[in-house]
Subunit: 131 residues, 2 copies
Amino acid sequence: MRRYVSDAAELTEEYGIQIGRWKQYRDLGPLPFDAMWCVIPPGGSSAEDVHPEVEFAVVTRGTAIYEEGGQKVEVPTGGVILLDPEQRHVIHNPSPVQPLTILSIYWMPRDAVAAADADSAAATTDGAGRD
Amino acid sequence: MRRYVSDAAELTEEYGIQIGRWKQYRDLGPLPFDAMWCVIPPGGSSAEDVHPEVEFAVVTRGTAIYEEGGQKVEVPTGGVILLDPEQRHVIHNPSPVQPLTILSIYWMPRDAVAAADADSAAATTDGAGRD
């Protein structure tokens, strides 16, 4: 049994917010996803973000407002938001006093992994290996 | 963007607690894990549980006490506990008033999946197919 809490995590400034990548934990073992803590200060917002991974975000403290394509969705503590690849999004912390903390879990979609594997196999067959 | 919250989930009685399996959500798309909400009433405990999956549990409301092999670990709201396969565990809700809610994410470890694939391939080669 290993316990992980955001208050004890090492955080760095990225995307205009604080990020704690789970790569910092040496005892995790293999996970079928990557993960990071995101801490957004009171009244703050993340920089706009867009990425090829599916994102499964759990609000672990405070209330988040996710904005995407003019749509805004409020997610309370304990709620989850699921973002498809390439969904351009911003996260807002509407609280004037409380930091917002999110556990973001993300992975490359299976189709993209299969395509990359096929590319890689084709490149190997061609003798045109990449790294 | 799709939002999921435990308060709106269908729950059933299992393991002495309330369970909301994420299979109820038809719009999820493929995830690299299974998931369920677990709701433990004030002062309640889960039945002892042991399973071959790795379990990654996020406390989404209240404080959990995880007990395993005589060890007890307290996990606050927003904290994560990671359980190895076959770790026999019980979850307690120490609050006399507040339900405890957990988002449990779980998957078969890679070694076990590889072994099952090898078994399946061997069975196919033998002509001794199983289902």
